[in-house]
């Protein structure tokens, strides 16, 4: 690939449209056009220079903005598909059984739902093809930026103050005319431009005034931010960088925190507060009348413990760390972990109170309360009367293999075998007691009658640790800096130079906000005698001016 030598003597890389130094058009197309494409200063986009090997072909593919936009549109369109029906993680199906998911989608959304499931849209954002799409987006961002930022930097640093008239003529804003004293005009223009905070360079009867060049780097800065962000997301796959667990913990329980070995949490109390008409502010009256009670707070009062240094998992050698009320929006934070209030269940049985009744007299001889989560062997009622708890089934499920059985350790349906020892029956009378059911081998004189129960709540918590958060935040900040830099500062350039005879040429370019550029030019023109310019893209301006002036 040979270099292109411009008439001014500068050697440009292959593919250059406008000479990096003087701005002369180098291609036939550019020479013919009335207005030249200034997007990358007419520099050679690197990707277009070599098209031979596979690597170059792949590189060129990702370097194209057209491809980049196509990928953006593809991500956009597929993301939209994912919102048609709820995603897998919002579906109230427990467990991981695929057939249950299929059943759910089919039941609620019919054939379309079934198809949605079968095409994998129900867990779309975790699908391999969506991940690949995001990966391609990242690749495109990196390669397209690299391919543009380097040549752009080169041509902006190499640009010469004095440009060739053919460059000037092809700018969107251009004017030429004879001026009485061109040196005077140049001097005045220089001063005016400096007053407008332009950086002015003067060379051989030519002015280059430039402002906010750094705005040109904005896109590349924000792309860097996006890459940092994507990198952060990627790093969550590294073991130990990311913890996401859930736990159910009942009031009174102490549990080691899943995903946070060595830390224990005790649920002291869970509560739900509501706004009520008498307590809440008067202005909410109408809303409360209309909607009934509105929840104001879900709160888990917890105590956090840590295993002592050097102790082993399971040991009771723990030290108290802190007490904290976890509410929504105020997670418990410690050592990089956060614990969030996410869910709750109420009404799980905690204790049951029975009364021992003499069937004949229908008199109670005493009461006893069983802690369903830690039952005792004996309950002494005094006067030679006691209850021996022989068996306890927390979640009674009928007789299995000739034995009463419990299907879980949770007291959903407690059942007991009592041995009731009374003065009349010192060896005891046996009785099987379940909810709304009492079985006796032989008719007993006494029975344990259910009196009351206490319940407790369980709190659903989520445990998170995310070491990548700061990387993500950094990515976000860099992106914001770049996008603001690129959007709120516009790179403006004004060229003024002497032509042949007493002609003067004026041209201007900005990457955005032509309106203000023209205002700047008008201000310079107030001070310095300069040719009238035209905006080649504003075809209505002429009509505007003439009609406006005739009125």
């Amino acid at each position: 690939m040979s270099k292109i030598k411009c008439q001014c003597g500068h050697e440009n890389p292959f593919g250059t449209v406008l000479c990096e130094k003087c701005g002369r058009p180098l291609t036939d197309e550019a020479k013919k056009s009335e207005m030249v494409d200034m997007r990358y200063e007419g520099s050679a986009r690197r990707s277009q220079t070599y098209k031979k090997s596979v690597i170059d072909k792949v590189w060129n593919f990702f370097s194209s903005v057209k491809i980049g936009v196509s990928i953006i549109i593809a991500v956009l369109a597929t993301s939209a598909i994912g919102t048609i029906f709820p995603q897998k993680f919002y579906v109230p199906v427990s467990g991981n059984d695929p057939s249950e998911y299929l059943e759910y989608y089919e039941r609620l959304y019919g054939t379309v739902g079934k198809l949605y499931y079968q095409l994998g849209f129900y867990d779309m954002y975790n699908s391999w093809w969506f991940k690949i799409l995001i990966g391609m987006l990242g690749t495109s961002i990196i390669i397209a930026s690299l391919d543009r930022v380097i040549p752009l930097y080169k041509s902006l640093t190499k640009q010469r103050t004095k440009r060739h008239p053919s460059f000037m003529k092809r700018q969107r804003i251009y004017g030429e005319s004879k001026v009485s004293d061109s040196d005077e005009s140049l001097k005045n223009a220089e001063k005016a431009l400096k007053d407008l905070h332009y950086k002015v360079k003067v060379e051989d009867g030519a002015i280059l005034a430039e402002k906010n060049r750094f705005g040109r780097w904005g896109p590349y800065v924000n792309h860097t931010g996006l890459i940092i962000f994507l990198l952060g997301v990627l790093m969550r796959g590294i073991p130990g960088f990311y913890v996401d667990e859930t736990m159910w913990i009942r009031e009174g329980e102490t549990r080691e925190i899943p995903g946070a070995p060595g830390y224990l949490l005790e649920n002291v109390d869970f509560s739900v507060e509501t706004y009520s008409k008498d307590k809440a502010d008067e202005v909410f009256g109408e809303a409360l009348d209309k909607n009934g009670a509105i929840v104001s707070e879900f709160k888990s009062d917890v105590k956090l413990y840590k295993e002592k240094e050097g102790s082993l998992p399971g040991s009771s050698d723990v030290e108290f760390m802190k007490e904290y009320p976890i509410v929504v929006n105020k997670p418990l934070k410690f050592d990089g972990y956060s614990i969030f209030q996410m869910d709750y269940k109420t009404g799980e049985l905690k204790t049951m109170t029975f009364s021992l009744m003499n069937k004949k007299t229908e008199q109670s001889v005493g009461e006893f309360t069983i802690d369903l989560n830690d039952p005792a062997n004996d309950y002494d009622l005094g006067n030679g009367t006691s209850i021996e708890l022989m068996e306890y089934y927390a979640d009674y499920d009928g007789i299995v293999d000739g034995q009463p059985s419990s299907k879980s350790p949770i007291p959903n349906n407690p059942a007991f075998i009592f041995n009731m020892k009374t003065p009349e029956h010192p060896d005891g009378e046996k009785s099987f007691v379940a909810i709304r059911q009492t079985l006796e081998v032989e008719p007993n004189d006494y029975e344990a009658k259910f009196l009351s129960a206490e319940t407790r709540d369980a709190s659903g918590l989520t445990i998170r640790k995310d070491k990548t958060l700061y990387i993500l935040l950094l990515g976000g900040i860099v992106f914001m800096i770049g996008v603001i830099q690129g959007s709120y500062w516009q790179h403006r350039r004004i060229w003024i130079q002497k032509g042949s005879d007493s002609e003067m040429l004026i041209a201007a370019h900005t990457n955005k906000n032509w309106y203000t550029l023209k205002k700047d030019l008008d201000k310079v023109k107030e001070v310095a005698t300069l040719p009238t310019y035209t905006d080649k893209q504003d075809k209505e301006a002429v009509i505007d001016t003439t009609e406006g002036e005739t009125k």
């Binding site: 939209a80 909410f284 104001s296 929504v328 969030f340 906000n513 301006a541 001016t545």
Partner: protein, 394 residues
């Protein structure tokens, strides 16, 4: 002082001010032949003064409601949508002082009016905050996001003016069809406002019991004659009409009923307009758009995307992620509202790339700006009302 009542009155004042302001901007456009002359027109000056009065009054609504409720009034559909319209007007005022173009006001104010009217159809009483919303991020995230969206919306207004001026309405074309379709959508929103208001003035109510999609019995009150009944519905109010159809459990028949009534009213309104003026709505607007400078409208359209995009990113994505991490333990959860914010963002990113490197200016750019606004409105309306997710507070 009763801030709540004051707040409602201030909103009404702003609503009227915008109506009057529109009228004056119309005058400004009408009396002047070109941009150059109407820049200094008295009509335009009065128009902007009235608009500012309206804006200040709406700001007053916002502040007094904030004082009354104790939280930023952006916590439900009515509050958010109203705040959005306020910021839309604010963005317009800002742009007006840069570019001095009454045409923009003539189109932006009616859009703000329609949005306020739309917002008012939702429950307006002040509600206390549910636990998930109790955070200062509510204020920060929602206000920034709404501000970003409203600046982006200005680009759609400029785009609409550009299109109304530059699309050839004398010949049948895809562009003419779609431009009219956009106008029809606006009429549809009016249809919703008119039908809702009419039925609520008549005090219509019909109670039903039904079985929801999880198989639980529930109750529902319709405020419009029920065209569609919920799944396995039973009428409680007996003297009202019987629904024509019963819908499957996943369909909210009440929403569907409201939609059909709005559509019905909208179509009638549209037909009436066509019968009276005997021209498409776009053609009615063309004379008002004709005076605008196309290049300037293109510039405003692009500029407002440039200004709005960073604000939107900050509010709707970055602040949103920070809050989501505090409230829901994850910064991103592919909730429909989140996804649609991402879609909006991607769309404007594509817009910027197409404009910067593919040279999509003029009509193409204007169409994209209008499409962007459609996406924003879709996220506001459809995602809230149809696709239920974590964000459905309305």
């Amino acid at each position: 002082m009763d801030y709540a009542a004051l707040s409602a009155n201030l909103l009404l004042v702003s609503f009227i001010a915008y109506l009057v302001g529109t009228f004056f901007f119309g005058g400004a456009v009408k009396v002047s032949k070109t941009e150059k002359t109407y820049k200094d027109s008295m009509w335009g000056k009065i128009g902007i003064v009235i608009t500012i009065i309206g804006f200040v009054s709406q700001l007053g609504y916002f502040i007094t409601r904030w004082i009354a409720s104790g939280h930023a009034p952006v916590s439900n559909m009515f509050e958010f949508t109203t705040a959005f319209s306020m910021m839309l007007v604010g963005s317009f005022i800002l742009i007006f002082f840069i570019y001095k173009t009454p045409s923009l006001g003539l189109f932006a104010l009616p859009i703000a009016i329609v949005i306020i009217a739309y917002a008012s159809m939702f429950p307006r009483e002040i509600t206390p905050l549910i636990p998930a919303l109790k955070s200062y991020w509510l204020t920060v995230h929602v206000i920034t996001a709404a501000l970003g969206e409203s600046i982006l919306a200005i680009s759609a207004v400029a785009g609409l003016i550009y299109l109304a001026k530059n699309v050839d309405l004398t010949k049948k074309s895809k562009e003419r069809f779609w431009l009219e379709a956009v106008m029809f959508t606006v009429v549809l929103v009016l249809g919703f406002v008119v039908s809702s208001t009419a039925f609520s003035l008549s005090g219509y109510e019909a109670d039903f019991t039904y079985v929801d999609k999880n198989g639980k019995p529930s109750e529902m009150t319709y405020n419009m004659p029920p065209l569609f009944g919920m799944s396995e519905y039973e009428q409680v109010t007996t003297d009202t009409m019987k629904p024509w159809f019963e819908t499957p459990a996943i369909v909210n028949a009440k929403t569907l009923t409201t939609f059909v009534w709005s559509l019905f009213t909208g179509i009638i309104l549209y037909i009436l307009i066509r019968l009276i003026f005997r021209r498409p709505i776009a053609a009615l607007l063309q004379p008002f758009a004709n005076k605008a400078n196309s290049q300037l409208m293109d510039e405003i359209g692009y500029r407002s995307v440039l200004i709005g995009f960073p604000v939107f990113t900050l509010g709707a994505l970055i602040f949103a992620m920070i809050w989501a991490h505090e409230a829901w333990s994850r910064f991103w959860g592919w909730d429909p509202k989140e996804v649609w914010a991402l879609i909006t963002w991607l769309f404007y990113a594509a817009f910027l790339h197409l404009r910067l490197s593919q040279g999509w200016e003029g009509k193409k750019s204007a169409w994209l700006a209008v499409a962007g606004f459609v996406i924003i409105m879709f996220n506001l309306v459809a995602v809230n009302l149809i696709i239920a997710g974590l964000h459905s507070y309305a």
